[in-house]
């Protein structure tokens, strides 16, 4: 059965069906991410004064990821243009670049997640708070039995507010050392995972959903670069349209990051 309007323009819409389809899908995606941005705004304005974190994320890594995604958006466009001008070799090159850049983005994101996963905040029985990255736990470390010790690379502060804004001169000047804590001195120990506070919750939700979009888009692009490119020989115009549609999705993913980066890393 012939599927209509995969290549030719539909008279009533003026576009081929897949293009209208992807724009409708992207419209729903705008509302999906819009809901999360709305949640972010409410969580942020609802936070107690001085209790919304600043400087918790590495701006350098966020910047590299911004540039990787911007470059990948460009290579995606150039891959489509290469198809349009019938230069399949260049299409292969540009799309291979897109896949590499996307994998680079995901690697950096994974590193950032891991960094948060091994970063602990420890409430001590003395009322102070130890904060730092996990160095080691003694073999007999058990928080329930209160045995063993844990070593963090970080510092001990008197007030949780001291940990909220890491851009203050005091926070920057703070000396980080190895701190060994007995389990018997620990009241509560928690890493900077999604349940740590509302900031990490919205951070992991938004960037996690975005990373899933990156992963999905990469799989589609890799398919079109590999086995899916067989369509080029049979129907190059239809293949070119597939590249355009996947490219539109990829640009949208870049568009979301353009707002995620300043909102989560810079403000």
């Amino acid at each position: 059965m012939e599927i209509p309007y995969t290549v030719e323009l539909r008279p009533d819409t003026g576009v081929y069906n897949a293009k209208l389809g992807i724009w409708l899908f992207l419209a729903s995606e705008v509302m999906l991410f819009g809901g999360l941005f709305s949640a972010y705004v409410l969580l942020r304005v609802g936070a107690e004064p001085g209790m919304w974190p600043h400087g918790w994320l590495d701006v350098r890594l966020g910047t590299i990821n911004t540039l990787l995604l911007a470059l990948s958006a460009i290579t995606t466009l150039l891959a489509w243009v290469s198809c349009k001008v019938r230069q399949f070799g260049k299409f292969k090159f540009f799309h291979a670049c897109t896949i590499c850049l996307a994998l680079g983005f995901l690697c950096i994101k994974s590193y950032e997640y891991h960094d948060k996963w091994i970063h602990y905040e420890v409430d001590l029985t003395s009322g102070k708070i130890a904060d730092g990255h996990l160095v080691e736990k003694s073999p007999d470390f058990d928080l329930v039995k209160k045995t063993g010790t844990v070593t963090l690379h970080g510092r001990i502060v008197d007030d949780r507010r001291d940990l909220m804004d890491l851009r203050t001169p005091e926070a920057r000047a703070a000396k980080l050392d190895e701190v060994t804590i007995k389990a018997s001195d620990i009241q509560k120990m928690e890493n900077y995972g999604p349940k740590h506070n509302t900031y990490t919750a919205i951070y992991f939700t938004m960037t996690g959903l975005h990373a899933l979009h990156i992963l999905g888009g990469t799989l589609v692009i890799a398919y079109l670069w590999g086995p899916g490119s067989a369509l080029w020989r049979r129907d190059p115009e239809r293949f070119t349209n597939r590249i355009e549609v996947s490219g539109l999705f990829w640009h949208f993913v870049d568009l979301v990051w353009i707002f995620l980066f300043p909102v989560l890393y810079l403000t």
Partner: protein, 126 residues
């Protein structure tokens, strides 16, 4: 399928008119590469501007900083949507779809701003 055997490995028939055959976008690889280079440079500059604004001292509050940074982000978004997604030269049907999206998105954010600082009693500590 037999006609493919006589063609080069990845050759495909040339379109009758690559500029207008299936859509209205003018297509020329060197032109696009130049345009993309300019766009990337602008994105590079705007990203640097966002970071510089973020670390600049604008007094105590974050409101002005956030406003400036988001305004720069909007410029970036315009470049990506307008030029890379070709939204500046898209069909009326796509604009119609997006006009609904814009309407509902503004509504969503409007409700969010409207709800700001209007929390049910007992849900906040200040």
């Amino acid at each position: 399928m037999s006609h493919h055997k006589s063609e080069p490995a990845h050759a495909a028939p040339a379109p009758s008119d690559p500029h207008t055959a299936m859509d209205s976008h003018a297509v020329d690889l060197p032109t696009y590469i130049r345009r993309c280079a300019v766009i990337f440079l602008v994105i590079l500059c705007t990203t640097a501007a966002m970071i510089a604004t973020s670390f600049a001292h604008f007094g105590e509050g974050w409101t002005l900083k956030v406003a400036i940074i988001l305004a720069i982000a909007v410029v970036n978004a315009f470049l990506v949507a307008g030029y890379l997604m070709h939204l500046l030269s898209e069909k009326k049907m796509i604009y119609t779809v997006l006009s609904f999206t814009v309407f509902f998105f503004i509504g969503l954010m409007g409700l969010t701003v409207w709800a700001t600082n209007n929390f049910p009693i007992g849900t906040v500590n200040h």
